[in-house]
């Protein structure tokens, strides 16, 4: 194989999510086959992103401007804040285009087993926004796991004295999911969260 530069490129590509050493070799080969049209633009994009992208000091999103384009958008509902675990969750919500409020990225979940405590989460900016008085509802959109639920209960307890409404995302049947193939946990959650179509 080629010189140390190629080995370094492969080693770095191999650290990307979803890529192992074999895939990294394929990607490196693909890039190096046409460096001018493939490698150079990618290198420029990486350099530019590294120089420009930063964490929004209001919500914790990643963007090239601070505050980010969501926090700076006056058309968004300023009284709604949706709390997510990570930036990936924020992007997933944005992909759907169903939510027009603001966000807050916690940067993790409380985990007794992994030793993650409240001091490891980004909470001060959320408390500051609530203290300013513009927030009327906080939506907790955290994973349906033991750590996610523990964090949700803890956050709800912490935010309750502030007087804002606190809600959480529903759990239950996924779109296109048939009962036969669902796990017992999801079925139990769906049954608990059932809605009455009519009552006597």
């Amino acid at each position: 194989m080629g010189g140390p530069e190629i080995a370094r490129l492969i080693a770095l590509l191999g650290k990307l999510p979803g890529l192992g050493p074999r895939s990294a070799r394929r990607a490196a080969l693909w890039l190096l086959r046409e460096p001018a049209t493939r490698l150079a633009p990618l290198a420029a994009a990486l350099t530019e992103a590294g120089a420009v992208v930063r964490r929004c000091r209001v919500c914790g999103n990643l963007d090239s401007q601070d505050p980010c384009f969501i926090c700076a958008d006056p058309g968004r509902e300023q009284g709604l804040v949706l709390v997510v675990e990570g930036v990936g969750d924020l992007w997933a919500m944005e992909r759907g285009g169903l939510y027009r409020g603001l966000y807050h990225v916690l940067g993790g979940l409380l985990s007794a087993l992994a030793g993650v405590g409240p001091e490891d989460l980004s909470l001060a900016p959320l408390h500051a926004r609530i203290a300013e008085g513009a927030v009327r509802e906080v939506i907790l959109a955290l994973p349906a796991t033991v750590d996610g639920a523990t964090t949700m209960h803890w956050l709800a307890d912490t935010l309750r004295p502030s007087g804002v409404a606190i809600s959480r995302l529903a759990q239950g049947l996924p779109m296109g999911g048939s009962l036969e193939t669902l796990d017992e946990g999801t079925l139990a959650a769906a049954l608990r969260a059932r809605r009455y179509e009519s009552t006597p």
């Binding site: 007794a112 349906a144 033991v146 209960h153 307890d157 796990d183 946990g185 959650a189």
Partner: protein, 250 residues
């Protein structure tokens, strides 16, 4: 090498992008670790939640290898208590204590059966807290640090046992304890009498009692602190047991 058995998921840690390393507790194999291929995948994530009861299968080329787990969900304990902060805290505490205190690959059938019962009934946390304290007392006994609650260490009396010595773990009757009561650990009645009623202050006393010996002996002997989940459960119960402030005078 291979074994199949009902098991309880005690801990799941991410391993790479899709896999996980799980710690299970089974009756015959004890606390056992293994790699779960695709343990973080959408299909398997619900199975590999702390507290889940599963039908597990472990395979490894050699007995002392990490090996691989596959499992089918039998009872989704965690999913059933996600809405209940107290039950969730209980589940996390029980699994963290079992994970941290039990030696690896050593059978503790009584501890497995106790935890199994506890998790199966965790949807009623008021009952499950009492079961947890009893289970922790059994755990201490299995580890060789059992409490001696048969009679008073001072007078030999078998009635009115109300305290436990924090040094020896032996019960002390109310009468014999009176000069040193403040230095002893309160003994909740439900630990001696299965039919005794238990309220929040009894739960707190029970957790304080077993927590003291777990911290000193069960975890202390291995130079580890009590798991944060267990500490947080005690704090939650202590808050419940704290007397409510007097209503403001009108």
């Amino acid at each position: 090498m291979e074994w199949q058995a009902p098991a309880i998921v005690l801990d799941v840690r991410r391993h790479g992008e899709n896999d996980a390393v799980a710690t299970l507790l089974s009756e015959a194999e004890g606390r056992h670790r293994g790699l779960v291929r695709g343990g973080q995948s959408r299909r398997q994530a619900a199975t590999w939640q702390v507290g889940s009861l599963v039908a597990a299968r472990w395979t490894g080329r050699l007995a002392d290898q990490l090996g691989h787990f596959t499992a089918e969900l039998v009872h989704p304990s965690a999913a059933l208590v996600l809405d209940s902060p107290l039950a969730l805290a209980l589940l996390a505490a029980a699994c963290a204590v079992a994970e941290g205190a039990l030696p690896e690959r050593e059978a503790h059938p009584r501890i497995f059966a106790g935890l199994f019962r506890l998790l199966a009934g965790i949807v009623a946390p008021e009952r499950a807290i009492v079961d947890l304290v009893r289970w922790e007392a059994d755990l201490l006994a299995d580890l060789g640090y059992g409490l001696d609650l048969r009679c008073c260490a001072v007078s030999g009396a078998v009635d009115d046992l109300a305290f436990v010595s924090p040094r020896t773990g032996r019960a002390v009757s109310r009468t014999a304890a009176s000069p040193w009561a403040e230095r002893l650990l309160p003994l909740p009645a439900f630990l001696c009498d299965a039919a005794a009623p238990a309220g929040a202050s009894d739960w707190r006393d029970g957790l304080r009692l077993t927590g003291h010996f777990l911290a000193r002996d069960g975890f202390g002997a291995r130079h580890r602190p009590l798991p944060p989940a267990r500490l947080s459960l005690y704090d939650r119960i202590a808050t419940l047991a704290a007397p409510s402030p007097d209503p403001p005078e009108s």
